[in-house]
């Protein structure tokens, strides 16, 4: 029996308006309790719980072009808790899907959310995956999303990860994406760390197929005593592979950031580039906004919020 009231409460606590989840295919889980699940023709979700995990398998049928997004809602409404998710996700050939993953941890005082994903995007399929985290004021939230993604011939994986509301707590992202012939992988991450937040972001894209293309883009703002380590790894392993790593971090106060864009090329006809910029707010940006009358703190906020939008 669907019980979405706690979900709406969690969205409300995060200052968000809940999307029209009941009408769309979805999976809603609080901790390891499945609150609601809905499949639609061509889109199948099988979920069960084991002792300390939620095990989900999602299959999108060949050629399905779902105009409505699919929602995955994970969260906790207790003050303390753990949520472990094992997700196996398969997009069959030529399918196309937008997956919205809402991770709601605005209310717990201390919690751990771990996800181990195994994602396969088959020939010619497209997955747009948007993972948005909504946290509260507690710095004791631990988020550990790890995944391996296989992008087959001509397939596309377009992923956006954002954690820009509330304290990050401890974030440990580890994604590895293997891209086949003419496949595309674009990973964008946006994180706003403050207080004593600790962030580790490892995103590795291996362009293994001819003409494969990849992009790892990171935008991060840090202040107070936050710490971040960003590793963007791009490998060009086949003819015509093109990849780029783009990392920009704004650091204020006592925050510390490191960015290690790593490019590896094992084929003479592959090309991989990178750019990384870490520093305080750009002085010309700041003064441009101040020349419009914004106070310095308001100008910084406009710059940071824009970068993380």
């Amino acid at each position: 029996m669907a019980d979405l009231k706690p979900l709406y409460t969690l969205f409300s606590a995060a200052g968000q308006t809940p999307p029209a989840i009941p009408q769309d295919a979805h999976l809603v889980a609080y901790g390891h309790t499945i609150a609601s699940i809905k499949s639609v023709p061509g889109f199948r979700i099988d979920v069960h719980t084991e002792a300390d995990s939620l095990i989900a398998e999602i299959v999108v049928a060949r050629g399905l072009r779902n105009s409505q997004p699919v929602h995955l809602c994970f969260g906790l409404y207790e003050q303390f808790g753990v949520q472990n998710v094992q997700l196996k996700f398969t997009l069959e050939p030529e399918a196309e899907l937008t997956l919205l993953s809402h991770c709601l941890f605005a209310t717990p005082l201390a919690a751990r959310h771990a996800m181990q994903g195994d994602i396969r995007i088959m020939t010619g399929a497209t997955l747009r995956y948007q993972e948005a985290h909504y946290h509260g004021s507690s710095g004791e939230i631990e988020v550990v999303p790890h995944a391996t993604v296989v992008v087959e011939q001509g397939a596309r994986y377009l992923a956006d990860f954002s954690l820009v509301q509330g304290r990050v707590g401890h974030l440990d992202v580890d994604y590895t994406v293997d891209v086949g012939d003419d496949g595309v992988a674009e990973l964008t991450s946006k994180v706003y760390g403050f207080g004593t937040d600790r962030i580790r972001l490892l995103e590795r894209v291996r362009l293994n197929g001819k003409g494969a293309r990849g992009m790892v883009k990171t935008r991060m703002a840090l202040k107070d005593d936050a710490r971040a380590e960003v590793l963007g790894i791009m490998e060009g392993n086949a003819a015509g592979a093109r990849g780029h790593v783009d990392c920009m971090e704004i650091v204020r106060d006592r925050a510390l950031a490191s960015a290690i864009p790593e490019v590896r090329v094992s084929h003479p006809l592959a090309k991989v580039t990178h750019e990384a910029a870490i520093g305080s707010v750009d002085s010309q940006q700041l003064e441009t906004l101040m020349a419009r009358g914004l106070r310095p703190d308001a100008a910084v906020d406009v710059i940071v919020r824009g970068m993380l939008r």
Partner: protein, 237 residues
């Protein structure tokens, strides 16, 4: 009425004098062109008037409507009605043109400002003010933001550089519109056809004003210059 007065302003950058005992008066509603070779101090003067970081004069005073603003920060000068359009405007990820243009002008008609600089609102308003804009587009957005602010003093640093000839007419119309709305304009330019719209002009060389008068006279003097400092060496002293 004197809008802006610089009195004996000197500024050093990296131990070199960039502005050297420079004095300048601008009347309310005046369009004043600054003309000079690269490195003569035109942009430095713009940043100094705006109060940018690192451009505080070692000596001299800047008065705006008789108030000493020499030590005021940028945003307080903006509150008094001064603004600056940079020669190479900054770009902002995630900041839509509509929001950017409207930042300094509460209640401004952003669409009208965009149209005045030749940008169709339905094509541009929702776009980000980032590197996806060409240099010319970004400069037009900058002018739209200045228009929206309805400043008392607009400092335009090379507003037409990198702009095609068709857009040039539109941008000259913007300068005239600023004048019509009562703004003073300090216009830094290399282009005689743009400077010709100014009421008066000053020729800079080596961080000093070496000639001042009607725009035609200053342009004529600049064309006939014989000193090599106007082309990179120093001509006074």
């Amino acid at each position: 009425m004197t809008m802006l007065r610089l009195l004996d302003v000197s500024l050093m950058r990296r131990n070199a004098p960039i502005l050297d005992r420079l004095s300048l008066d601008m009347a309310a509603g005046e369009i004043h062109a600054l003309i000079g070779a690269n490195g003569s101090g035109k942009s430095t003067l713009a940043y100094t008037i705006m109060g940018c970081e690192g451009y505080r004069p070692e000596r001299g005073q800047i008065l705006f409507l008789d108030r000493d603003i020499t030590t005021l920060p940028v945003h307080e000068r903006a509150h008094l009605g001064i603004t600056l359009a940079w020669q190479e405007p900054a770009r902002f990820e995630g900041l839509q043109i509509r929001d950017y243009v409207g930042l300094g002008g509460k209640g401004a008609d952003v669409d009208a400002c965009l149209r005045r600089v030749g940008l169709a609102p339905d094509q541009y308003a929702e776009r980000p003010t980032d590197k996806t804009l060409s240099g010319g587009e970004r400069k037009r957005v900058e002018l739209a933001a200045v228009l929206a602010m309805r400043p008392r003093l607009a400092i335009l640093d090379e507003p037409t550089a990198g702009i095609d000839m068709i857009s040039l007419d539109a941008l000259i119309a913007v300068i005239e519109a600023l004048r019509a709305e009562g703004s003073s304009v300090l216009l830094i330019t290399h282009q005689p056809e743009v400077a010709a719209h100014a009421d008066r002009a000053s020729q800079l060389c080596g961080g000093r004003i070496v000639f001042q008068g009607t725009t035609a006279a200053v342009l004529d003097n600049y064309r006939r210059r014989t000193c090599k400092r106007c082309d990179g060496e120093t001509c006074h002293g």
